[in-house]
C-alpha cells in the first residue's frame, strides 16, 4: 500500500492511472453496452457527422457506427498491446536472466544475438516478421513482442549480472540449490521490480507499434477494427470527413499518454534509488534551525564545538544523531573521536563545515566556533571559503572521494585553484605528492585514481586535504579500509605532518589502538553524546565510563594469546527513540534507578577529564593518577 501512496503523490501519474482505469473499464464493459454491431455496413449512412441521430460519433466510409467500432477497436488494441508487453517481458527477462546468471561465453553469444536483433530498425524487423508469417492481428502481436524482447533482455541482464555475484547467490548454491532454482527463487524476485518498470514504460509504445502495423494493413484484417486499422481506413477521407481519423487518433493519444504518465509514476515509486531520495539534491550547506540561545565560545581554542545538535528529520521521525556535543582542538593537537557505528561521530564532523546532507539533516542547536566566528548559520560563501582552505576533510574511501575521470594531479591543482592559489600549482602539487611519500611523484601526477593502490589513493586524499595549508584536518576513519601495513604508514605520516605543520587533527575511528598511538586527547561517543573525554593515556588506562571500559575490553589486543572476549550484551538504542536518562543504562551492569530518571550531564573528573556517569569506574585510581 506504500507503493500506491508513493504513486498517488505524483499527480500526473495519478491522473494517468484514473484515465487508464476508465479506458480499461470501458473496454471491458463493451459486451454489456447497448452498442450497434461494429461490422454491419450501411452505405446509405456513410460519413455521417458526429452527434447525428443514432450515431454519437458518426459513421465511417461504409456507414458503420464509429462509437461501436472505436470501443471494440480499443478493446482489441489494448489486449494486443498488453499481451505483446507480457510476452516480450517474459521472454526478454528469461533471456536476460540466463545470460546474466551464467555469464562468460553464454552471455556473450546470447547478447550478441540480441545486439543483432537490435541492429535492425524495429519497424523493418516487424514488417519482415509479419511478411514471413502473413498479415493478421495475431502475427502483428508476435512481431511487436519479438521486436521488444531485446530491450527487456538487455535491461534484465544488466541487473542480473549484479545480483548473480551477490553473496546470497553463493549461499544458495551452498544450500544445495541448482541453477534453475537459484534463477527462479533467488534472482527473479530481485529483478521483478525492474521488469515491472520496463513494462510500464513500454506498454504504450507497443500499443503504438501494433497500431502502426494495423495502419499499414498488416495487423487486424477487415472487417474487424482496431485503432490502427481504423486510422488506415480513414486515411482516404482525411480531408472530406476528418472525424473518421480524429476519433481513433484521439483515443490512441489518450491511451498512450495515460500509460506513459502512469509508467513514469510506477518507475519513480518502485525504483529504490529514486525512493531513497537520490533525485533530491542536497543543499549547499546544512539547514540550520537553531532554537534557544547560542552558547559563547571559549577562549584560546582554534576550533570550538559547543553543545552541537544535529538531527535528521525523516517524515514524522526525528533522529537525534548528535545530541549536544562539546569538543575543542588547539593547534598541533590531535583529538580522537571514538565510537561505534551510529554513535554520531561522523555527523559531528560533517556538521562543522555544514556538510550534512539537507534534507534530511538539520542543525538544531549549538555553536561551531572557528577563530572567533560562528560557522553555524554562516553564509554559504563564507563556509565555502573555509572548506578545504582552513578546515579540510579526509574520508574513509578515497576511491569514492577522488573523481575517477580526472588525473590525481589535476584534482590537486583544482583544489588549490578553487581558493585562488593557482599560481605554480603544478609544482606545488608534485611537492604535496612527495610530502605524502608517494614514490615517483612526477609520474604519479598523471595517474588516474584507479591506477593507484588503496594506500596510494589515501595518500593522494591526504595530499588534497593539505593542498591549501589548512589549520584543521578532520579525518573520518581514514585507515579503516586499508591493510595494517599500509595503515601503519598512513598514521605515521599524519603524525609527522601534524608535528611539522602544526595541524590540528580530529581523528574519527573505532579503533582504540589507533587512538592510543596517535591522539593526545580522546572523546568517546555513544548514542549521539560524548560519554567520556580526557587525555588518551589516562582514559585508556583508567576508563571512567562503564561503556569505555567495556568497549576496550571487547577489543582483542595482539600478543595476549587465545582467550575469551568480554562482550557487551544488547545493542545501542535507536537515536529516534532515546531513553530519558543514560543511553547506556540498559546495557550497563552498574545501572541504578537514578541513571534512567533524568539526563546525566558531562561532569568533570580527575583533573582534565570529564565523564557522563554517576557511578564512574576507576574512581580512586584515576584521582590518584591525576594528583
Amino acid at each position: 500500500m506504500n507503493f500506491l501512496r508513493l504513486l498517488a503523490r505524483n499527480q500526473l501519474a495519478l491522473a494517468g492511472l484514473i484515465v487508464m482505469a476508465l479506458v480499461v473499464l470501458l473496454a471491458l464493459a463493451v459486451p454489456l453496452l447497448p452498442l450497434q454491431p461494429p461490422n454491419v455496413t450501411n452505405t446509405a449512412d456513410r460519413f455521417m457527422a458526429p452527434f447525428s441521430e443514432g450515431h454519437l460519433l458518426g459513421t465511417d466510409h461504409l456507414g458503420r457506427d464509429l462509437l461501436s467500432r472505436l470501443l471494440h477497436g480499443t478493446r482489441l488494441s489494448l489486449a494486443v498491446g498488453f499481451a505483446a508487453a507480457v510476452i516480450a517481458a517474459v521472454l526478454g527477462a528469461a533471456v536476460g536472466i540466463v545470460a546474466g546468471y551464467y555469464g562468460g561465453r553464454t552471455d556473450n553469444v546470447i547478447m550478441r544475438l540480441v545486439d543483432m536483433l537490435m541492429a535492425f530498425p524495429y519497424i523493418l524487423l516487424a514488417l519482415a516478421i509479419v511478411a514471413a508469417l502473413g498479415p493478421g492481428l495475431l502475427n502483428a502481436l508476435v512481431a511487436v513482442a519479438a521486436v521488444n524482447i531485446p530491450f527487456f533482455a538487455r535491461n534484465i541482464r544488466g541487473i542480473t549480472v549484479g545480483i548473480a555475484h551477490k553473496e546470497f547467490v553463493d549461499a544458495a548454491r551452498l544450500s544445495g540449490m541448482g541453477d534453475l532454482r537459484i534463477m527462479l527463487g533467488e534472482v527473479l524476485p530481485n529483478v521483478i521490480p525492474v521488469i515491472v518498470i520496463a513494462m510500464s514504460t513500454t506498454v504504450g509504445w507497443m500499443i503504438l507499434e501494433t497500431a502502426g502495423l494495423s495502419f499499414l494493413g498488416l495487423g487486424s484484417q477487415p472487417p474487424v477494427a482496431d485503432l490502427g486499422s481504423m486510422l488506415g481506413e480513414a486515411r482516404a477521407a482525411l480531408i472530406s470527413s476528418p472525424h473518421t481519423s480524429v476519433v481513433p487518433g484521439v483515443m490512441i493519444l489518450i491511451i498512450v499518454m495515460a500509460i506513459n504518465l502512469l509508467g513514469d509514476g510506477i518507475r519513480d515509486a518502485l525504483d529504490p534509488r529514486l525512493r531513497s531520495g537520490a533525485l533530491t539534491r542536497p543543499m549547499a550547506a546544512t539547514l540550520v534551525k537553531r532554537e534557544g540561545p547560542v552558547p559563547e565560545a571559549r577562549e584560546g581554542k582554534l576550533l570550538d564545538i559547543r553543545a552541537l545538535e544535529t538531527q535528521f528529520h525523516v517524515k514524522s521521525r526525528v533522529y537525534r544523531a548528535v545530541g549536544g556535543v562539546d569538543l575543542e582542538v588547539k593547534p598541533g593537537e590531535c583529538l580522537g573521536l571514538i565510537g561505534e557505528s551510529g554513535s554520531g561521530k561522523s555527523v559531528t564532523a560533517l556538521s562543522v563545515m555544514g556538510l550534512v546532507a539537507s534534507p534530511p539533516g538539520v542543525i538544531t542547536g549549538g555553536r561551531v566556533d572557528y577563530k572567533g566566528t560562528d560557522l553555524i548559520g554562516a553564509p554559504y560563501e563564507h563556509l565555502r571559503g573555509l572548506r578545504g582552505r582552513e578546515v579540510a576533510y579526509i574520508f574513509q574511501d578515497p576511491l569514492a572521494t577522488l573523481h575517477p575521470l580526472y588525473k590525481v594531479g589535476d584534482q590537486l591543482i583544482e583544489a588549490m585553484k578553487v581558493h585562488g592559489k593557482g599560481e605554480g600549482a603544478r609544482e606545488k602539487a608534485i611537492q604535496l605528492l612527495k610530502d605524502v611519500r608517494i614514490p615517483n611523484a612526477e609520474s604519479r601526477f598523471d595517474s588516474y585514481p584507479h591506477e593507484m593502490s588503496g594506500g596510494m589513493r589515501q595518500r593522494a586524499g591526504i595530499a588534497m586535504a593539505l593542498a591549501n595549508d589548512p589549520d584543521v584536518i578532520i579525518a573520518d576513519e581514514p585507515t579503516t579500509a586499508l591493510d595494517v601495513t599500509v595503515q601503519a604508514q598512513i598514521l605515521a605520516l599524519l603524525n609527522d605532518l601534524r608535528k611539522s605543520r602544526g595541524l590540528a587533527i580530529i581523528f574519527i575511528t573505532h579503533d582504540f589502538g589507533v587512538v592510543g598511538q596517535l591522539c593526545d586527547r580522546v572523546a568517546v561517543m555513544y548514542a549521539g553524546r560524548i560519554v567520556e573525554e580526557g587525555p588518551t593515556a589516562e582514559v585508556l588506562a583508567t576508563s571512567a565510563h562503564p561503556y569505555t571500559k567495556r568497549l576496550i575490553a571487547c577489543v582483542p589486543e595482539l600478543g595476549e594469546g587465545r582467550r575469551k572476549l568480554a562482550a557487551i550484551p544488547g545493542l545501542p538504542p535507536p537515536v529516534d527513540n532515546l531513553p530519558e536518562g543514560c543511553a547506556f543504562a540498559p546495557r550497563c551492569d552498574k545501572a541504578t534507578e537514578a541513571c534512567t530518571a533524568r539526563p546525566i550531564p558531562l561532569m568533570p573528573f580527575a583533573g582534565e577529564r570529564a565523564v557522563r556517569c554517576i557511578h564512574p569506574e576507576n574512581d580512586a585510581a584515576a584521582r590518584e593518577a591525576a594528583e
Binding site: F168, A171, G176, E186, P439, D483, F512, A567, P569
Partner: protein, 321 residues
Amino acid sequence: MTHALRLKDLAKTFDVSGGLFGGTRGKVHAVNPITLDVETGETLGIVGESGCGKSTLARMLVGLLPPTEGSIEIEGEPLSRADPAAFGQKIQYVFQDPISSLNPRKTIRQIMEAPLKHLHGMGREQREARIAEIFAAVNLREEFLERYPHEFSGGQAQRIGIARALAAKARILILDEPVSALDVSVQAQVLNLLADLKREFGLTYLFISHDLAVVEAVSDRVAVLYFGSVVEIGPAERIFAAPHHPYTALLAGSAPVVGRELTPPEAKGTELPNPLDPPPGCAFAPRCPRATDKCRAEVPALMDMGDGTKAACFHPLGQGA
C-alpha cells in the same frame, strides 16, 4: 588425530583475457600450491592482506570455485568436482557481509529452510524442529523467522548466517572475515558465540581475517598468507609473538597497539608485486630488509623452525636466539 580437511597442492590460476576476441593475455596465480592439514576440532586462522588469495582459497574449499590443480579431502573423502551441493553437507561458509549474504526478498524462514530442503530433503515438521534447535543454539528468537533481512542489525544478521551454515549439518565452517563488518561490541558477541557453538557441536573452523588480534584470540594455529602462498604457519600464541618470516614480523609490527611508538615499520614500498609478472624468487623479497640474491632467485619452501612453526624463508628471524 583425524583430519577434518586436507589440502594437497591446491592451487588456483586465473586466465586474464585480453582484447576483443578473448585471447589469453596471461595467468594470475591467485593461490600457489598449498598443502595443509586441519585437524578435527581445530581452529585454523588464516591472515593476510588484501590480494593475498585468502578469499580464493576459501571459495575453493566450499566448492564455489574449481581448483586449477591439487585435491581437497574432507573428513577422509576426496571431493574433486566443484559442486557446492556435495560440499555443502560437510563444509559451509559464513560470509563477510551478513546483510548481503541474505536474499532481501526472502523471509528468514525461507532462507533457513533452503539447506534443510535441498541438502537433506527434510519434511516440514523435521525442518521446523531443526530450525528451532539451531535458533536456540545461536540465541535468536523464533519470531524472527517471519521477518525480512533488512529488519536486522549486522550482528543479528551474522547470527542468522551462522545458523544457516549450521543448519546444513556441516561440521567444518569456513568463516570469511565473519566479524569485520561488525562493531567491536557486537564483534565480541559473535566471536564468543562461535566459540560456544564449536564446543557444543564439535566443529572445525577455518577463520579468515585481516585482523591479527582477532585471529590470535580465536585460533589454535595461524597460517600467514602472502601473495598466494603460506609464508608461515604455527601455533597462535607464538606466531606473532616470535615471528620467523619477515612478513609476519612486519604484520605484527604494523598492528596498532596502545603505547607503541608510531614509526612506520618499513621504509620500503607497500606495493604487492605485479600478479601478471611475479618476481622469480620470494614474492616478499622486494619489500624485505633481509633479502639477498638467493631470495630473488629461488622460491623458498616451508621449513621447520624447530618450535612447531614452519616458515618459507631463507633467512628467518629468531633463529639461534
